[in-house]
């Protein structure tokens, strides 16, 4: 609880670098499971991608729900049912095996009415749509990588793309493991996840860039320490945003499970929910750890690290930069005061406000 209130007050002191190793391992395992499932079980592609069989049943007055009930009994509950001109039921199912399809036709005849037309149909989402979308995605990744390189730096571009790839593999992996049917709406959900993940990562990176620009020049903190401060400061934002994004999706999931025939909505919601959670997680844990690893190797940061080690002894767990230190070290906050060019000042005594303790009393009135 105290950690939660600390988080709310911005006093959170999660040791992110200490968690990175575990996070990277967990993610690697999850990605491997996703890829393995994708390789072995593949995806359950729906009617729109693979085509299937269509039946036209003359059944005046019959409802969509009747047809769906029949198809459910036949083990083809994901069939798509439409009413045509009020008297014909157009039923399309992704069953391709001719024997099975004929079985269903016979069952439909006995239970609903005469099957007037019965044929194989091709996919509505053809290979051409997929090809173009994939090509567009490749172009998109290249352009976004360039964009992040220009606005931030190339190491962050690498981190962002790895994080996005991770999120997509996990989301698709969920569909593969549970064999949910892939519909065009699902593909859109994957694209949404991609956009969300990228957005989230850039927000986190911008905070890192801001903190490094402010405190980096003091040469008192190693890159992972600065990264840790930035992540702690952006955690509340990430949690709040994930919560507000996830609430409508969870609501879709709950309401969808109460309503009949809303299975499509539910699976769609699952994809989005996984994507939102994983998207925030990967920004805080994966994208940042990768960038930190890449930056640590830079000469500048190695020099800082050895200096810091010399001053405080062997590496322990990441030192957490307290609020006061952060403010005092803020090179922008006291520009006139900072010693020009001289060697780094002696570290000020660390007066870290006790987390969860009584904060200083607010002053009642500001004099202006």
């Amino acid at each position: 609880m105290s950690r939660l209130t600390g988080l709310y007050r911005g006093e959170s002191s999660v040791d992110f670098p200490g968690l990175w190793r575990r996070a990277v391992m967990a993610s690697t395992v999850a990605v491997l499971i996703g890829l393995a499932s994708f390789g072995i079980r593949g995806l359950n592609l729906g009617l729109d991608f693979e085509g299937g069989t269509s039946y036209e049943v003359r059944a005046p007055g019959a409802e969509v729900a009747d047809a769906r009930a029949v198809m459910d009994d036949l083990g083809a509950g994901d069939a798509r049912v439409q009413v045509v001109d009020d008297e014909v039921l157009l039923i399309r199912s992704d069953i391709e095996d001719p024997a099975r399809a004929a079985e269903i036709r016979d069952a439909l005849t006995t239970r609903l009415g005469p099957v007037e037309a019965f044929e194989q149909v091709g996919p509505t989402w053809g290979d051409e749509v997929t090809d173009k979308a994939l090509r567009a995605l490749v172009v998109f990744f290249v352009v976004v990588a360039l964009y992040i390189t220009v606005r931030l730096e190339w190491k962050m571009a690498v981190g962002a793309l790895v994080a996005v790839a991770h999120d997509i593999v996990l989301s698709v992996g969920v569909y593969s493991v549970f064999q949910f049917e892939i519909t065009p709406a699902t593909v859109i959900a994957f694209l949404t996840i991609m956009g969300y993940s990228l957005y989230d990562t850039i927000v986190v990176y911008d905070k890192v860039r801001e903190i490094v620009a402010r405190l980096g020049a003091t040469e008192r903190y190693t890159y992972p320490e600065l990264m840790n401060l930035a992540l702690n400061r952006v955690t509340m934002r990430s949690i709040n945003t994930s919560v507000t994004s996830a609430i409508p999706v969870v609501s879709l999931l709950v309401v969808g499970s109460l309503a009949m025939g809303a299975a499509a909505l539910q699976e769609f919601a699952v994809a989005l929910l996984v994507g939102i959670v994983v998207g925030s997680y990967s920004s805080l844990f994966l994208a940042s750890s990768l960038v930190s690893r890449l930056k640590e190797g830079e000469e500048r940061w190695q020099a800082v690290a050895s200096k810091v080690r010399g001053r405080i002894g062997e590496e322990g767990p990441t030192r957490v930069i307290g609020r006061q230190e952060a403010v005092l070290s803020d090179t922008r906050a006291a520009p006139r005061r900072s010693p020009s060019g001289g060697p780094a000042k002696k570290r000020p005594p660390v007066v870290r406000p006790a987390t969860g303790g009584a904060p200083p009393r607010p002053r009642k009135k500001k004099k202006r």
Binding site: T124, D206, T241, I247, P359
Partner: protein, 500 residues
């Protein structure tokens, strides 16, 4: 400073109100997609032998043709004998048929005569026969175009090298064009687009290079311009006309007003309505299908997603929105209310745009689009969260709330712009490079992101800064979800950060 904020605020509020009022007044409604409301399904059967590859190619061309109309998100699939096309919410089944089209080939033919036109232009002039087959051959009776029932050349006699009599694709039903042999085919056309120039709708043509393109076209244009016998002046006109024929119907027959054209600056004007210009461009752009198709039937189909699912989705959306509102207000108090209003503004603008495009350009709102918008709610809220958290951070670092408000906004906004730009790049590329449902998604993503930026810059920022000038804000920071004071106990003056 407050005046500027006030102007921005009033501007965006006025814009939102105006957009909402216009949406209601114009009766704009979003066009729901096939999955949500059903539509018209056209079944086409191939004439003659085909194989799967040809039908797949046909599907591709038809998809391009319909995508060119907007983002109607059609459902197009190959069947055993042809193609099935479903369009969302097209009330007019005839229009659905013409959209889907049954195309053979696009040909350029000179106009020899025009019969039964309201204006009554009939006789051709010019005599000296030279060059390509002259219309004079018709006058002398040497050639008689085959005419079937209905006064037009039947499709089986419609050979490119013959004189033919054809009707117009749209317009007066009795009108007939007597046309010379085909001089150029649809291969010549690289691109055709509706353009709004000089206060009227026109069709801009881009031709390919070479003999089958601009060179061939200019050769004809030179003849038609002077009214040679192969492309004569009609009565009372100064130039000859060149008809563009699609599937045995004249799409348009413009007079040639210049002897020579540049490949990318050919304009066809003719008092088009917007829809006509759209249709003509589409017909010109997507000339030939690899197989000839015949419509078998056109039927009204219901939604693919059951009404129960739809209702569940709407309920879920509303419940979700309420919960989000409760969370935001509970967490950020009055700032939370500002965030909600900002959300309402971008939502109202998005609705106005979606309704307008749905009515005007056939933009379909599918389940995927609806969900995209639900997720967009999350991202829009984030712009507020980024700012508010930055604000809290600054206050905790020892700044006064009031100075933090001014300082934090540009920094937070820069972050939001960076992140949103990545989304916009994605939306733009997907829009430009993909087809079908992905393209629809890209449009919604782009719109929602842009509106998020607009609402943040024009509403949320100014509103918070205005609130910050009140005494109330300075005295009760907690009501704004801000910490009472910084964690640093050193006294802080609003002007300079003091380190002692």
């Amino acid at each position: 400073m407050p005046r500027r904020q006030l102007v921005l605020l009033l501007g965006i509020v006025a814009l939102t109100v105006a957009a909402s009022v216009l949406t209601v007044v114009w009766r704009n409604e979003p066009l729901l997609g096939l999955d949500l409301q059903g539509g018209v399904s056209v079944r086409l059967v191939a004439v003659g032998p085909t194989d799967e590859a040809m039908l797949d190619q046909t599907v591709e061309i038809i998809r391009d043709r319909i995508d060119g109309l907007g983002v109607a998100e059609p459902e197009i699939s190959r069947t055993e004998t042809g193609v099935m096309v479903s369009l969302p919410g097209v009330d007019d089944q005839e229009r659905a048929l013409t959209l889907v089209g049954t195309t053979a080939e696009l040909r350029f033919r000179p106009v020899c005569r025009m019969l039964n036109f309201p204006g009554g232009a009939t006789e051709a002039s010019g005599t000296a026969p030279s060059g390509p087959a002259s219309c004079a051959l018709l006058d002398s009776g040497e050639v008689v175009p085959s005419v079937g029932p209905g006064g037009v050349t039947p499709p089986e006699d419609d050979h490119p090298t013959d004189f033919v009599v054809l009707g117009a694709r749209t317009g007066s039903p009795g009108a007939r064009y007597v046309l010379g042999p085909s001089l150029l085919t649809g291969e010549a056309i690289a691109e055709a687009n509706p353009l709004f120039i000089d206060y009227q709708w026109q069709v801009g043509l881009d031709l390919r290079a070479g003999r089958v393109g601009i060179d061939g076209f200019n050769e004809i244009a030179a003849r038609c311009y002077v009214g040679e016998t192969s492309c004569p002046r009609l009565e009372g006109a100064t130039n000859g006309r060149l008809a563009i024929v699609l599937d045995g119907q004249v799409v348009t027959a413009p007079a040639i007003r210049a002897p020579e054209f540049k490949a990318d600056s050919i304009l066809i004007s003719g008092g088009f309505e917007k829809q006509e210009a759209d249709d003509v461009s589409l017909a010109l752009r997507y000339g030939a299908l690899p197989v000839e198709l015949e419509p078998e039937n056109t039927r009204v189909v219901s939604a693919t997603i059951g009404e129960d699912s739809l209702r569940a989705g709407v309920v879920a959306g509303l419940v979700g929105l309420l919960l989000v509102a409760a969370f935001i207000v509970g967490y950020y108090r009055i700032l939370g209310l500002v965030a909600l209003t900002s959300l309402a503004i971008s939502g109202a603008l998005l609705w106005a745009i979606v309704a307008h495009l749905g009515t005007q350009s056939g933009l379909a709102l599918t389940l995927a689009g609806v969900t995209g918008m639900i997720v967009a709610i999350g991202v829009s809220v984030d712009s507020n969260v980024v700012y508010f958290e930055h604000l809290k951070e600054d206050v905790r670092d020892g700044r006064t709330a009031r100075s933090s408000v001014d300082r934090a906004f540009p920094i937070a906004f820069a972050t939001i712009v960076k992140a949103d730009t990545a989304s916009l790049i994605g939306a733009g590329l997907l829009w430009a490079l993909t087809v079908g449902a992905v393209r629809g998604f890209a449009l919604y993503l782009g719109l929602a992101t842009l509106l998020d930026l607009v609402a943040t810059y024009f509403f949320m920022g100014p509103m918070v800064r205005l609130l910050a000038t009140t005494r109330w804000f300075a005295e009760h920071p907690r009501r704004f979800g801000l910490p009472a004071s910084g964690a640093v106990s050193t006294p802080v003056s609003p002007t300079a950060e003091v380190i002692s």
